[in-house]
């Protein structure tokens, strides 16, 4: 049970406070309801580029990092399809420094052409390091536009191409900042040993005077239901063939989400999972398998992925993989197997919540979904899932025409 207190300030900022008396540290986390799905389709990558620029200093505080360090803190941020999250962890005595810094850069960011040029270069190197200069690094660059035709999830968070990043102007960034970075689009989460009411007072002190803005209305195109199986083969200088199958699944708010999540654990959660036992350990068709859901707010993807073992053909490997996936329907899990994945899920939450940073970020995320309290209630939703629900969801998910398949084929020269 993760306790919390909530208050919405007059300017629309939602404040969530968690108290943990066992830690000497404090966390200040701000989650903005803005991600790469809000990018301009012609100039993708702006949400992520802005995250970089948020560390470039504000009108009144020239160096964000230096102030965090002076206070003995550490900070970072991440952007995904749906959200951008900034967090700073610092000694509890310096909690106010964290609030001061976050409030300051919510409204007074100092955007300059020079800063933008340098961060475009940094992000270009990030793109090269993560997506070009790695074996299988371009997987999501290919898979996203294969699975999505209209919805913004068709481009990756960093941007669909280096040329897109190059096109982004200071005006574009400034507009994104104005539209999405405001108290009413943000959730502030504070976790420390301080009393909840004291933290709310401090949040009021540092954020209460910021001006609220009209929030922009989001109107994103729905992805049309997929009608036929999509397949793509790429040849790369990689040591092994790899198969990735992506099935369209429901959104984060849908009731089917829980059964879908459990199916991914049944297939590949841990060493006793179906795919691992059958395809890796027994049949040795794959050297590695994985199944997971993207968990996006809008309808996401259910991914099954395997690294084909040497000496196995990819066709055969693909057939064995889909047969085992469909085994969920033809040989559904009994109570013991279902209990196992539910127990794993419950325990995993406890492990995640041993630190205040994860507690703060999770509370904010559930608040964004509608209510921070879901964080505590959600386990009950998983417990309600029965074998019938699993079979029903698997039958909807695992239709061939609902899938996009990406084959990486090892080009000859890498085999020598």
């Amino acid at each position: 049970m993760i306790n919390f207190k909530k208050k919405v300030l007059d300017n629309g900022l939602t404040v969530i406070v968690h108290r943990d008396i066992s830690t000497p540290m404090a966390v200040v986390s701000i989650m903005y309801d803005a991600g790469s799905r809000d990018d301009n389709p012609e100039k993708t990558g702006a949400a992520h580029l802005l995250e970089h620029l948020m560390f470039g200093g504000s009108v009144s505080i020239p160096s964000y990092d230096r102030e965090v360090q002076k206070a003995g803190g550490e900070n970072n941020a991440f952007t995904n399809n749906d959200i951008t999250n900034y967090y700073v962890s610092l000694p509890a005595a310096n909690l106010e420094t964290g609030l001061w810094l976050e409030a300051d850069r919510m409204m007074g960011l100092d955007l300059s052409q020079r800063g933008l040029d340098i961060q475009k270069s940094v992000v270009t190197e990030e793109y090269r390091q993560r997506y070009i200069n790695q074996p299988y690094g371009d997987l999501w660059m290919i898979l996203r536009p294969l699975a999505y035709k209209t919805h913004p999830y068709r481009w990756p968070v960093i941007g669909s191409d280096i040329s897109h990043i190059a096109k982004i102007t200071l005006d574009d960034i400034s507009r994104f900042y104005t539209n999405y970075y405001s108290p009413s689009s943000a959730i502030l989460a504070v976790a420390s040993k301080l009393e909840e009411d004291r933290c709310i007072e401090l949040a009021e002190k540092w954020f209460g005077h910021l001006k609220g803005k009209m929030s922009v209305t989001r109107s994103l195109p729905d992805e049309h239901p997929q009608k036929e199986l999509r397949e793509k083969v790429v040849y790369r200088d990689v040591p092994s063939d790899q198969i990735t199958v992506a099935y369209h699944m429901c959104g984060r708010d849908d009731p089917e989400y829980y059964a879908t999540d459990l199916i991914s654990d049944l297939l590949a959660g841990g060493r006793s999972s179906r795919l691992y036992r059958r395809l890796v350990m027994e049949k040795k068709i794959f050297s590695n398998v994985n199944a997971y859901i993207t968990g996006d707010r809008d309808p996401g993807l259910f991914i099954v992925q395997g690294m084909v073992a040497d000496g196995t053909g990819t066709e055969q490997a693909y057939n064995e993989m889909t047969a085992e996936i469909n085994g969920i329907i033809t040989g559904p899990p009994g109570t013991t197997e279902l209990d196992k994945v539910r127990n794993k899920l419950e325990a995993a939450r406890h492990y995640t919540h041993t630190g205040i940073l994860n507690k703060a970020i999770d509370l904010a995320y559930y608040e964004l979904l509608g209510n921070a309290g879901y964080l505590n209630d959600e386990i009950a939703m998983y417990k309600k899932v029965q074998t019938d629900d699993i079979v029903q969801q698997a039958s909807i998910l695992f239709r061939p025409e609902n899938s996009s398949v990406l084959f990486y084929r090892s080009s000859d020269r890498s085999k020598t």
């Binding site: 066992s22 830690t23 000497p24 540290m25 990092d65 230096r66 360090q69 002076k70 206070a71 003995g72 550490e74 962890s89 610092l90 005595a93 310096n94 106010e96 609030l99 001061w100 340098i118 961060q119 475009k120 270069s121 940094v122 992000v123 190197e125 990030e126 090269r128 390091q129 993560r130 070009i132 200069n133 790695q134 074996p135 299988y136 005077h209 200088d237 040591p239 959660g269 841990g270 060493r271 006793s272 999972s273 036992r277 890796v280 350990m281 040795k284 050297s287 690294m307 073992a309 013991t336 196992k340 127990n343 794993k344 325990a347 995993a348 406890h350 492990y351 041993t354 205040i356 890498s414």
Partner: protein, 425 residues
Amino acid sequence: MTYRKKPVTEKFLRPGPVKPRQIRLGNSVPVYLIRAGSQPVARIDILFRAGSWWQPKPLVASSANAMLTEGTIYHTGEEIAQKTDYFGSYINTHIDRDNAFVSIYSLTKHLESLLPLAEEIIKVPSFPERELETLLERKLQSYMIERNRVGTIAREQFSSALYGSDHPYGQILQPEHFKNVSSEDLHAFHRDFYKTGNCAVFISGSYDEDSIAGLLDRTLGGTEWLSHPEAEESMPPPFQTEKRNLLILKKDAVQSALRIGRPLFNRSHPDFPGMMVLNSILGGHFGSRLMQNIREKRGYTYGIGSVLAGLRHSGYIAVISEVGAGYRKNAVKEIYNELDRLRNKPVSKKELDLTKSLMLGEILSSFDGPFAWLESIRNLVEHDLDDGFIDILIETITGISASRLQDLAGKYLLTGDMTEVVAGQ
């Protein structure tokens, strides 16, 4: 609108007492007990002096460690996996150059069921042939992926240049090594190194100390797995540092991986804490000189940093980055410029104070939460240190002067002493 004054920053904060309670099992294995955290979970780490330093040939130490959970004389690997997964628990294995680990994550209420299983895994693994074969095939496949990465190539070549290709700290794996490991090799390694005299246990989380102490004694406290009295620490050959400038060409690489550095010493060396401060200024954090110059000012890279690594029998400092292939020459030049600056000009009071606050904050956060606290204590034991090292470190950080740092830079960061490895273009 009222003017809000910048909050006062508290400086030089120290952690409270971090010393764990220590007991010994019936067979003298030390146990470190940490109680912390809000969740009903516990983590137990069991350390063995059984890292790759000790192995008679490549892959034996890591395979023995990974195969512990693949079968015992009483249970198959699948049964072990079923049981741990059913409880939502993990029994993970992990190895580095000096040590090997078995880590258990569990809801506290399931420890009673899991520790007997851990006992089996540690004392009577069966190292089945078929599973070993699968493991080696899988390891080979991920190795083949790894060796396509410029970062991996640079890391391996750098270690080899620092310690010599015949030395366990410098050895580079080759594909043929994967064909040369047998179940008997693992049994022999296990017989010598998974023993009470090589072992320490760490537990952290929410639990009742007395019942845990009893449970640990019943499962791991017996005398049937005592170290052989005649066992001795076999010493590998001495280091053979070859200061080298290496360029490993990879034509299609859009980025080049860099490693520039030199061997130093382990954590017990009196200059180690001071070098930690110097390393922090150079490249130990986001606002460090390397990040500010090469990423934030010039945009040559997504990330650059330096590490001060403490191994049990040595240590090294290294600048690490992957830079756009066209920026490589300029980036290397700027790295050496930063070393020159540290040698030639004292660090300003402002920068030094900032580094001190930052490092003390890092120490504080390394004891934040039960798992971090366990790792910090374990880390000390791994390097034959105790919590006194934390006090020395805090004293060094708070007391160190700019001239002392300049002396250290003059002693240890000479351009002529650096080994430089580039993989890419």
